[in-house]
Amino acid sequence: MSKINSKRFLSPGKHLMMGNVAMSEGALSAGLNYFGGYPITPSTEVIEHLAVRMPQVGGVCMQMEDELASINSVIGASLVGAKSMTATSGPGLSLMVETISMAANLEVPFVFCDVQRNGPGTGFVTEPHHNDIGLVRFSGNGEFQVIALAPMSCQELFDLTITAFNFAELYRCPVFILSDAYLGHLHEVVTIPPKEKILDRVIQRELPPPDEYIKKFTYKDDNTGKYVIPKPPQMGTDYCPGLLLHQPHNYEGLPTPKPMQFMEAIMDKINKNKDKICITESYKLKDADIIIIAYGLPVRASYRAVDIARKEGFKVGIFRLVTVWPFPDEEVMDVVKDAKAIIVPELNYTGYIAEQVERVTKLEIPIIKIPKVCEFHHPDDILKVIKEVAK
């Protein structure tokens, strides 16, 4: 849309910045053109930072009257071709779910940064608590798939936000960045790559060539049997259905008498592309018989715990989920098949991911949860469990 403005990119090199700011800068680098938000601790720095930065790059930062308005304006902006996002915390997310579900139906790309805080209700507003993991997965009425990425450092907040925007463009589904009160307020050194390197990575919002104009929404190619996700339609151009209805629709956007086909299209576009969406990391997994599965901040404590445990002779490794949703079933199954025990440290009481691991392993391998609420896992907490299960 708008041509690339020199103020869009920070100077390459090292910068000390807060997590929320790193996330915002990542979004700007990815081509963010519209931000709609409403202040809420601990995500407020995002809107404050973007209120300064967006006009500098010819973009828009709107403080809307509430979260319902923010997310609706984000969808509106995305529909006319702007890369758009919002940032909020749990209570804001709760208000936004209706619109997320509408956006999933219309396959409107947008990025959603959830800086999680303690709940339920208002909770301790400045304390981290990964308690929106479940809400994010089922963030609205109806069935649809989301992508959720869990960074664990300010550098990753920058990098993964660019990935999130690319996923939004490619898969046209709600993409979440799962930050939290600690990560959002953490100050760390972030290395900003040169502008050219960033631009190489970024998938720009473009119109397809005119002969492809007819296909607008996800559909199954009759010849290959594969799902094709066309580029997002843009209001104000000819590449847009005359009518955008959030009803089961065919690839042209018209209501379809075959809701099952529509359902398959919006579910399978993610399910069938899991290999590209699910980002994972392995640490000392080769000979490990005790496996830690973690995401977000607890991964950092796990690294330390594993290093100490390895020195003491325990065969333990980490399987890190960078993409939390969709859950990488096959990969987890593959990693844990010979494991003696699985440890899942999570910054919540329920163990949302532990439940997924239980589902995948059909409860055949012992799973030990280490729940923490409003506080970090200390490496010792994890080390203690490693030693117990190794006995």
Binding site: V60, I75, L79, G242, L243, L244
Partner: protein, 305 residues
């Protein structure tokens, strides 16, 4: 569902604007899903007429439609206009995003009395407050029609609905006064019984830079008319009169109960209790418009060292 064509009448009316309507262009017939006697058909065709006659650029005038019976206006509005169905009450917020991301556009918003003054009241207030360049219609049928005739914030005093089965005793909210207080710069009210004024106001709104609010009083025969007597609004005639079960009766009732603004100035609050005051309530061209002001900020921020 998608077999809408089958559900439509086969008669081919001579209405000159039918071929320009969305369903008309597809099926070649007069397509509507409204009850007979409903006012929304009139509104849809007036809209299509203006859209065609004024040669509005479909790329610049998207239509954002809220949720209510009037959502089905999408079948009658101009086939070329790009239409999007918003969520219940959220159309003003969606339009804000559209307008701010592409300031060349001028969104036209359709919303109902329940949509705009009930569930979406906050968005409406802030749309007016920002004076964002767009046109917003409030279709006031005094009832929540789509869900089966429940009381709305605009339901008249003493009227019956399924959720006010004895009588409505709440105060009525006035979309026009709300819009004026919130800061909209062109505010008017008309009815479907006054199509010429409707067209005049709509054209004026299209040429106005800022938020234009047009409230349109429209009959709902099925859920308002059949339940209420035509003495509603008339003084000292409680319990008298007959049910307004046809479009004609409702249009007559609307005409009886509308008062021009200059006349209304001479009347007391009591006399105006269940009346609709029509006319232009505000027309101010010198107030700053939001997207213009934001553009100034962008220019400043981009040039700043």
């Amino acid at each position: 569902m998608s077999d809408i064509g089958r559900m439509l009448p086969n008669e081919k009316p001579e209405h000159p604007y039918v071929p320009f309507s969305y369903a008309g262009s597809m099926f070649g017939n007069f397509a509507t899903r409204f009850c007979s006697g409903c006012g929304y058909g009139i509104i849809g065709h007036l809209f299509t007429k203006i859209f065609e006659d004024e040669k509005l650029d479909p790329h610049l005038f998207p239509t954002i439609i809220g949720i209510g019976c009037y959502s089905q206006l999408l079948l009658i509005v101009h086939t070329k206009s790009q239409k999007i169905l918003a969520l219940h009450g959220r159309a003003p917020a969606l339009a804000t995003g559209i307008k701010m991301a592409n300031p060349n556009m001028k969104p036209i918003i359709f919303s109902g009395d329940g949509d705009c003054l009930g569930i979406g009241g906050n968005h409406f207030i802030h749309l007016c407050r920002r004076n964002l360049d767009c046109v917003i219609f409030i279709f006031n049928n005094s009832i929540y029609a789509m869900t089966g005739g429940q009381g709305a914030p605009t339901t008249l005093f003493g009227a019956q609905s399924t959720t006010t089965p004895y009588k409505m005793f709440e105060n009525r909210s006035d979309g026009v006064e709300l819009a004026v207080a919130a800061g909209a710069t062109y505010v008017a009210r008309t009815t479907v019984a006054h199509p010429r004024t409707f067209m005049k106001y709509f054209k004026k709104a299209l040429n106005h830079k800022g938020t234009s609010v047009i409230e349109v009083i429209t009959p709902c025969v099925t859920y308002f008319g059949r339940k209420n007597l035509d003495s509603l609004g008339a003084e000292n005639r409680e319990g008298e009169g007959e049910k307004m079960d046809t479009g004609q009766k409702m249009i007559d009732w609307i005409k009886q109960n509308t008062i021009r603004r200059n006349q209304a100035k001479l009347m007391t609050e009591d006399q105006l209790l269940n009346k609709y005051v029509i006319g232009e309530f505000r027309y101010q061209t010198d107030k700053p418009e939001y997207s213009d002001e934001y553009n100034k900020i962008q220019k400043f921020a981009m040039e700043e060292k």
